[in-house]
């Protein structure tokens, strides 16, 4: 119970207290104090009728106590904040508190902060994750992560990064940064950190609730839901399973339906953007057999929005299905993506389908791939390819399957 309330209310409580106190650290400390008190009292006294309001009121009272103690010394700032708080003391135990999380999100994702700092702050202040949890999720030592967070908070305070929703003129750019942070958190959870994936979806829902008129916010939520819906089928005993070979009964029907539903709503909106288009591609994959012509058309649209060789690579995968591997290979070879493991994995598959030896391309992919699950899959394909070549040195291999490990857009 308290855990659920923590998940649902932590970010909101921090956002409200930050506005009242004008300081992130004070706000966080007060909210944590309030939850500690709740953990002690609720099991004995029962959960209050409006738990969110209770948390915020308790946190506010804790902060006032602390400021009282500090202002007995000569802490000017504490005195000023205390005075302001006492003047604006609201009615007791508010049930319906204003949602300040938007301000908090935009502060955490301020473009003057490094992307890693934006991610860490968002997870900590909005998601309520501990520094240790965030450090483990991103495989950095806890002191490093702690330092990163302290530094970012120090910059917010000293440089006066404003605590507000950006004005309309700046909103599109600033929103892009927020969505990028949430999507990065999601991708970090893609393989084996389900908690991060779930957290990103939760943040996506918060954004959709706070900015219901922004189609790209819904597009991102739909994209995450559709990719996540295949999680159980995507990994079998830690091994990556390609879309074609996935056991569809293991797809999460509820997430698929919700994602497709949102995609349909976005289509009616008719204000396409990169997240909505990627969601639409995944919606097509979620409705097998995949309509590859539609996928190609969607990639054309995506390329028009975000011209990038990675998008072109994914498009080529779809082209292989509609126009054959030869055309696709020609398009892939024109891309400047030598450092990207999927570039070589896709080439390997196309070569194989054309009856050529994919071993060199697979080795190149293996050299560049980092994730164990991807490496395993590549190694398996490499040993199959080598065996094949030895058995039938002159025969063309017509084995036909989806040519990638990894990559959401191609629909894992």
């Amino acid at each position: 119970m308290i855990e659920q309330i923590f998940l649902a209310e932590y970010g909101r409580a921090v956002s409200v207290l930050t506005r009242v106190l004008g300081d992130l650290d004070l706000a966080e400390e007060a909210v944590q104090d309030a939850f500690t008190t709740a953990a002690e009292q609720w099991p004995v006294k029962g959960v209050p009728p409006a738990p969110a309001g209770w948390i915020i009121t308790t946190a506010r009272n804790r902060a006032i106590d602390k400021l009282r103690r500090e202002s007995k010394g000569r802490e000017k700032h504490a005195q000023a904040v205390l005075l302001q708080m006492l003047q604006h003391q609201p009615e007791e135990e508010v049930g319906d508190v204003p949602d300040e999380r938007l301000r908090l999100i935009f502060t955490c994702c301020h473009p003057s902060l490094a992307l890693q700092a934006q991610v860490a702050l968002t997870l900590k202040l909005l998601g309520g994750l501990t520094t240790g949890e965030i450090a483990r999720a991103f495989l950095v030592p806890e002191p490093t992560m702690a330092q990163r967070i302290v530094r970012a908070k120090g910059k917010i305070r000293a440089a006066r990064i404003p605590y507000r929703v950006p004005r309309d003129a700046d909103l599109p750019e600033r929103l892009k940064a927020v969505l990028a942070v949430v999507y990065l958190i999601f991708n970090e959870g893609y393989f084996d950190k389900e908690a991060l994936e779930a957290e990103a979806i939760r943040l996506g829902r918060v954004l959709a609730q706070l900015m219901p008129d922004e189609p790209e916010v819904w597009g991102l939520l739909a994209l995450m839901l559709l990719v996540a819906s295949r999680r159980q089928a995507r990994l079998r005993n830690g091994e990556l399973v390609l879309l074609e070979d996935q056991d569809r009964t293991r797809w999460n029907a509820e997430q698929t339906a919700e994602g497709q539903d949102i995609v349909r709503r976005c289509l009616r909106w008719n204000q396409p953007g990169p997240y909505q288009i990627q969601a639409a591609i995944n919606a097509v994959h979620s409705d097998p057999p995949t309509d590859w012509h539609q996928v190609v058309a969607l990639y054309d649209q995506l390329l028009a929005h975000t011209p990038s060789p990675v998008v072109a690579l994914h498009r080529a995968v779809a082209i292989a299905e509609t126009e054959g591997p030869r055309t696709a290979l020609r398009e892939v070879d024109a891309l400047d993506l030598d450092r990207y493991h999927l570039f070589h994995a896709v080439r390997a598959d196309l070569l194989q389908r054309l009856g050529e030896d994919p071993a060199a391309a697979l080795e190149a992919a293996l050299e560049r791939a980092e994730h164990p699950a991807e490496r395993d899959l590549l190694r398996k394909r490499l040993s199959l390819a080598t065996a094949n070549q030895q058995e039938h040195p002159d025969q063309h291999d017509q084995d036909h399957h989806d040519p990638q490990p990894g990559g959401h857009s191609t629909g894992l």
């Binding site: 301020h110 003057s112 000293a158 440089a159 006066r160 990064i161 404003p162 950006p166 700046d170």
Partner: protein, 116 residues
């Protein structure tokens, strides 16, 4: 309540660009400074002579050591600076962006001043 920010201008070492390049830039810079003054944002601004004209002092024991030249030799040096007062970082960055645009290709570092 406003906050002061130092906008430092970093430029590559070496010769200044020829007048036909420099003059329009300086004219735009003057215009921007005037706009800052009109809006009550401007606090102070200065352009600096090259780093080769600098002298560095450092106290050691009872003595103060004197060295010819800039404090650090790098590929870039601070060529000038502007101090502004703004509501918050967003406003300061907006002015910083204007300055960077005028100074085309030079980096502008925006840094809050301690104590307001």
């Amino acid at each position: 309540m406003t906050q002061k920010y130092l906008l430092s201008i970093y430029q590559p070492d070496g010769e200044a660009p020829p007048p036909e390049v420099l003059d329009p830039i300086m004219a735009n810079l003057r215009e921007l400074n005037e706009e800052m003054q009109a809006k009550g944002v401007w606090v102070f601004a200065a352009g600096l002579h090259p780093p080769s004209t600098a002298t560095v002092l450092k106290a050691k024991d009872d003595d103060v050591l004197m060295t010819d030249g800039p404090f650090t030799e790098g590929k870039e040096h601070i060529g000038g600076f502007t101090v502004i007062q703004a509501e918050d970082l967003d406003e300061a960055l907006e002015w910083g962006r204007r300055l960077a645009t005028v100074l085309n290709m030079l980096s502008v570092e925006v840094r809050p001043v301690v104590g307001g």
